[in-house]
Each structure stands twice: as C-alpha cells, then as structure tokens.
Amino acid sequence: MSLGCAHSLNATGVAGDPASPVHRLDPRAKIAGFAGITVVGVSTPPRLWPVLVACALALAAIAATARVGPGLVWARARVVLPLVVFVAVFLPFVRGGEQVELGPLSLSEEGLSTFASVASKAAIGTVSAVLLGATTSFPDVLHGLERMRAPRLLVLIAAFMYRYLFVIADEARRMRVALAARGYRPRHALQAAAIGRVAISLFLRTYDRAERVYVAMLARGYAGSTPRLNALVFGRADVLFLVVVAGALLPLRVLAGVSS
C-alpha cells in the first residue's frame, strides 16, 4: 500500500510465538509488569545507569522468551521513538558547562548525558509498550484494563477507537484516491485546502456513523454496560512473572538510590 496511514496500522497486533509463556500470561500481569519496568526506567537518574541496563536486560529477556525479534521491535518502535529522540538531540548543542570537541562540533558534556538519559528512557518506555502490544491482543489489553478498574468510559472509547480506526483510515484512503483521480497534486500551501475539506467530511461521516452505531447497540439491548464473555484468570505463572520482574528491578532501583 502506498499510503503511510495504512502502513502504520498494519504494524499492529500480536507477533512472535503466540504459544509462548509471555503471550499466555494474564493481560493484567503484563500491563502491570511492563508499566513497572517503565516506571523504574523513567524514574532512574542518569548516574544510576546500571538500573537502566537492568531494565533493558529484562525487556530483552521477555522479548527472547516471547520470540519477538529485534527487527519487529524496531519496526514498531520507530513509529514513536524518532519523535521523542528528535527533541532530545539538540540538548548537547544548547546546554552550557564543560564542552567536548568533536571534530568541528562543540558539545556540552552535561547535554550529552541528558540526551543519553532521555533517549534510553524513551527507548525503555517505547519497547515496553511495543512488547505489550506484540504479546497481547488489543481487546485483551482493554479487558485487562477494565478488570484493573480503569474508568469504563475510557476503556469503551479506546475500544471504539480501535474498532473504527481501520474503517476511518479506509475512508480517508478512498477519499485521497478520489482526489488524486481528479488530478489533485498540491504544489503550494493554498492548494492544501482540499485536505482540510477531506478532514471535515471525514469528521461529519464519523459523526453520522456514531449515531448509527449507537442505534445498532440499542437494538441489541445495550443499557449502559458491556458485559464480558470470558473471565480472566490470574494464575501462578502471572504471579511468578510479576515477582520476577518486580523482585529483580525494584530492589536494584532502591539500593542504587540509597548507595549513591
């Protein structure tokens, strides 16, 4: 497909070995585990870098167990990561303090360490999210969040977003094709107005659809809550996973913090 939106939507869903121990964990265990790794990683100051290395190792071990390859992790992480890193990449140039000469460039040492810290934290957070997405289907993540008492309305909104993102992306693609078919090739900013009209039209269509979906929900007896078909089972493997992740990272984080 030639359109970017279709590409990034295809790079979603469960990957790796669906029968792996990680894939079979309860979604709640995975949400808590990956959130834990992210919190430990983000809360660690740069001078305690061994904790960051431990987080990275934990993620690598989980990825290896789930048979999610580095290529796939990179393919998905690069949707988010460059944006974050882009902001941080200027830090070494604008910060003051000790300067390091690197060929024709003069870089701030403090800026460099901040950049390394921001980039590694962003990577830990992003890879955690990627691994959660690669080992847990989106409906399971939502189910887990619901059971973890996330606000029902937010979970419902996320569920609809997931369901209709593909429908709306498809409508947008058809409209872009229709524009191109009538010779639309914007050469300067003023001609971009057509894109704005496409956006308005998409919004109106989506609004109409929302009304129709609501009617269809009422027609099948919807009365404010969405009951679930199967219950989640939090088993021994899930407890073990959380104990291992928390048992390895939390003491390390606390000890490193105390000893410095």
């Binding site: 409906p139 369901r163 209709y164 593909f166 979906v213 269809a216 099948r220 919807y222 679930r228 078909l229």
Partner: protein
C-alpha cells in the same frame, strides 16, 4: 392467525417536519417472509426502526406479541432482530466472538450460555472459523453474515434485514440468499434488489411516501409494470418474474 407484526395507522414525522410514515397498515403472520420494496425515502428504514421501539410514532403497533409503546423495550429487542445495512455499524466490538455475544449478554445470558449461542449463530451463517478475528479483517460479505449472526444469537422471533444484498458481489449475494433461505424464521427484508426479494420472499409490500400502496405475492407485484414504474422501482434488464414464478412452482412440486 396470530401475527408477528400488526400495525394500524402508523404515522411518524421527523423533527424537521418530513413525514416518515403516513398511515401504515401491515399484518405479517408467523413464518412469513415479506419483502418491503420501495424507492429511497419511502420510509422503509423508519418502519424498521419502529419495529424495535427505536422510533415511536402515532397509531397502533404490536410486534412479536408485545405492544411496542407499552411493553418492556428490552424484551422487545430480544424478540426482534434488526440487521442494519452497513455491517460496520453493527459490528462494533473488537472481535467477532465478543460482538455476537454482545446481544445475549445484554439480555442476561450467562457467559457459558452466551458462548454456546455464539457457536450456534456463527455456525448457522457458516462463519465459525472467524470467531476470533477482528471485524475489519473480514470481507463485506463475511461481515454481513456475521452481522446476521449477531442478531440470530439473540434468538429473535422476527428478523428484519435492511438492504442485505447491497454492494455484494454476485457470488457473495447468492451465498447470502442461500443462507437466508435456510433460516426458518419470520423475516422482513427491506430491499431495492427486486430479484433478491423475489427469490427469498413469497410476499411483498410496496412502501411509497410513507404508505403501503401494494401488498401481494412477490412475483405478482414484480409483474405489475405500471405499479413498479409509478413507485420508481425497476427490474434489471432481462429479468423475467414469470419465469421465476414457474421455477418456484416446479421446485415446490
């Protein structure tokens, strides 16, 4: 004969003043398959939404033994299954299985009972193999069949289908027709697709400007060229309803 639908003098006006229904009288008996034919804007969808209590106009309307205005809406929605034209409106849950289970669970079925109904309903539309897929991964024909399963899982007495054959390729259309013909239930099929109506339904009513202007055997109505022309209905070129009527008689014999 007891009726599944009994409408007398049903009138409905939209808030913008447009008359949706202008005195509809309709009786549909148990086990009948009735096609509702009519041009765009004739009130077909408005009528359909009345049957489930989603719109309420003036006049009398009893559906599946319940008075639409007085009795419990939840019970009514359990007895009347609406299948909407765009399956993307009907399939709103993240997976097919959850979507088919949505109705039974809302009606108070236990998760085990709902799971059994999902298997049965998907089996009826021959879509059991897609239960764990997301709706956006299915073709339009598949989505339409799953949409029918979402309603069958509620075990309705009356099945109402809005333009079931719209935008289907010939093969998906034929498969849908064969599948619907096997479902033994009272059915109201709202459609523009006159050959589809003729093959599926014995009886047809023509709805025009909010009123029922003709009611009779489907093949008879389709042979009435003056009637069709007066209400902007048109058979596809080369389609001969007389031939279909003879085929049906031969098949029955």
């Amino acid at each position: 004969m007891s009726c599944v639908i009994e409408a007398r003098g049903l009138r409905f006006r939209y808030p913008n003043g447009v008359a949706g229904l202008d005195g509809v009288d309709l009786r549909v008996g148990h086990g009948e398959r009735v096609a509702v034919l009519g041009p765009n804007g004739a009130g077909k969808t408005t009528l359909m939404l009345h049957l489930n209590g989603l719109l309420a106009g003036e006049g009398e309307l009893a559906v599946a033994g319940l008075d639409v205005r007085r009795d419990d809406a939840r019970e009514l929605r359990a007895r009347v299954g609406l299948v909407f034209q765009d399956p993307d409106d009907q399939l709103f849950m993240p997976t097919v299985r959850e979507d088919v289970a949505f109705g039974p669970l809302n009606l108070g079925a236990s998760p085990e009972a709902a799971a059994a109904r999902v298997v049965e309903a998907l089996g009826t539309v021959r879509m059991g193999h897609v239960a764990d897929r997301a709706p956006h991964q299915l073709s339009l024909g598949q989505r339409r069949r799953v949409a029918i399963a979402t309603v069958l899982a509620m075990d309705p007495r009356l099945l109402v289908l809005d333009e079931p054959s719209a935008s289907l390729d010939p093969r998906a259309r034929r498969e849908l027709l064969e599948m619907l013909a096997r479902i033994d239930r009272t059915m109201l099929v709202v459609t523009h697709d006159l050959p589809f109506a003729a093959e599926l339904c014995e009886r047809a009513v023509v709805l025009s400007a909010g009123r029922i202007v003709a009611d009779g055997r489907c093949t008879d109505i389709l042979r009435d060229e003056a009637l069709l022309a007066a209400h902007d209905l048109e058979l596809p070129a080369g389609f001969d309803p007389s031939l279909l009527a003879r085929q049906k008689v031969a098949a029955a014999a």
